[in-house]
């Protein structure tokens, strides 16, 4: 037996081609642009691509993109579409912000006066037309012909005083509703600059004790019914993820037996707004929230 064994070349691929699109026709990436290595997409695009890795199945064949690669393709495209749309939205919002401003109180009064004045003119004009119409006896109205057996018209040719009053009242009522609804919309779109205490409407059923070396504003908001439940304040977070959470927040019972919220702000805690949720200690059900704003001294 010869010792020179026949050696095959290494195969170009080691897995079967299981990709339907490349099996039947050209690969499915013809329309795609950008990098062709899926790992590049994960690195190139935003945070969501990292999440895409959880979607990936086992590695595909070496002959073409696998199912998991299609998944990455979708994430990459999704990120690109989202980025473009957000940029366009931002530009549009900037344009709007440059051109819009809340009208002053004077402007609101002016608008209201203008609306009411125009509305009054409209009503007066309508009534005038009504009077004219019935005085002129419109030629297109054919008078009833008793000889031909045609009955009387279902309305008088000249309006009685009652009808005129009804029309006038109706017009004024509708016009007033219209103006009021316009003003309501205006108030909604341009709210008056006054403190908005709506978020404090819920009655806080616990006192708050804040220990802080800096000015600190604390807002506790509890849902109805929370006062009878065991409460737990979870750690509070800033929207800036690099800042540490505010940890030392807890519900305690005072010497008088009443429950209070104790907040201690460390001296090195960065100034910012911190938000957290108040839960039922046993069930974890959210029952309110807590906002603590630490200001610079």
């Amino acid at each position: 037996m010869s010792e020179d064994r026949f050696q095959r070349e290494d195969p170009l691929r080691t897995d079967p081609i299981r990709n339907f699109s490349t099996t039947l026709r050209s690969d499915g990436w013809s329309g795609a642009t950008g990098p062709t290595d899926p790992s590049d997409w994960m690195n190139q695009e935003g945070s969501a691509a990292a999440g895409g890795s959880t979607a990936g199945a086992s590695g595909g064949s070496t002959g073409g993109p696998s199912f998991s690669q299609f998944g990455l393709h979708g994430i990459r495209l999704g990120n690109a579409v989202l980025r473009d749309q957000m940029q366009r939205g931002q530009e549009f919002a900037e344009q709007l912000a440059a051109g819009l401003g809340a009208p002053s109180a004077d402007l609101r009064q002016l608008l209201e006066r203008m609306l009411r004045s125009y509305s009054g003119m409209y009503i007066d004009t309508t009534l005038l037309w009504m009077d004219l119409l019935f005085q002129l006896r419109i030629p297109t109205v054919t008078p009833p012909d008793p000889a031909a057996g045609v009955g009387p018209l279902p309305f008088p040719l000249s309006p009685g005083a009652d009808l005129r009053r009804v029309v006038e009242r109706m017009l004024r009522a509708y016009s007033g509703m219209y103006i009021d609804s316009l003003l309501l919309w205006m108030d909604l779109l341009f709210p008056k600059q006054q403190p908005d205490n709506s978020s404090l409407k819920k009655e806080a059923t616990a006192s708050v004790a804040v220990f802080s070396s800096r000015p600190t504003l604390c807002t506790l908001s509890l849902n109805p019914g929370a006062e009878t439940q065991p409460l737990e304040a979870c750690q509070l977070w800033s929207r800036d993820t690099t800042k540490p959470p505010l940890m030392d927040v807890s519900f305690q019972t005072g010497s008088d037996g009443k429950r209070f919220l104790r907040v201690r702000v460390p001296d090195d805690q960065p100034a910012d707004l911190y938000l957290g949720v108040v839960c039922n200690r046993t069930t974890g059900e959210p029952l309110g929230n807590l906002a603590i704003e630490i200001r610079q001294p």
Binding site: G56, G74, I75, V81, G89, P245, C279, G284
Partner: protein, 349 residues
Amino acid sequence: MPSHNPSIPPGLVPAVLQEYGELTRAALERYLPAQEPRRYLYNLVADYPRRGGKALRPSLCLATARAFGAAPQEALFAAVFIELFHNASLVLDDIQDESEERRGTPALHVQHGIPLALNAGNMLLLLSLRPLIESQLQLGQQLTLRILKETERAASELAEGQALELGWRRDNTMGLGDEDYLEMVLKKTCWTGMIYPTLVGALIGTRDAWAELTPFLRFGFFLGAAFQIQDDVLNLVGDARYGKELDGDVREGKRSLPMIHLLREAALAERDRLVDFLGRPRAARGDGEVRWVRGLMDRYGSIEYAQSIAAGLAGAALHEHAQAFGRLPASRDKTFVEALVPWVLTRVS
């Protein structure tokens, strides 16, 4: 299929959808006028909202707000708006798409004709604004204004997305890429369906104190895109529980993701025939032709392709969920929002 939290209790999503769906539907009855003209308007207005549905959108809003500690009543105004607005858009959508069924029953325009259905849809749009206007009593003017601004944005995005899809069909547009599809889906489905409910829920839950809302937007987009692609797939492979006309998207010539894939992958002669098929009016697209298109999708793996894209997007949605909700304490509502991600891929209706 993306991996997901094994601690999600089975049946959580259907249970929460049912609970929040009932809460929303009970509250929205107040905004459906019981007055004349019933036969030509208000009975029609109340038809779609009373047909039920998944109530996914209002549930997403309520759950997000609650995960941040808000009481359900605080987010209920927004939830009712979302459900009424969604139903109004369905009425108009069915007319524009010439759809025959909605939730297993003939579409409103099939029952009453286009003019009355169109008018009822417009009225429902108008009525949907009432709970939002009333919400200022509970949420205050500033937060209500903020929500109204988001509402205007979402409604505009919906109209733009619908315009893209309808325009593509009218002009028999070819050469669309997956990115065109995703842009259309972002506008048409994601914004009002997932982004808006999540954003508004977060706004209410945080009293608009949390300026950084981008993670909620990103979560809504990826969840909504996965949802819509699964909808495209269900339209082709759904069973009796699906509730819409099977292969209806093919018959309507919709540029769904499987269709865009097929147009890209089909052989030249097949593509020419497909272009001709899509260029005809709906009535001229016969059953045999629809079956032929459907067979091509099987042959070219267009459905599997769409499913794999949806799985990738769902994975991204899970990641964004961690960004947006990760720092909140564990709660049923937070888990529900996370559980929606695998649910959109496994749902059958």
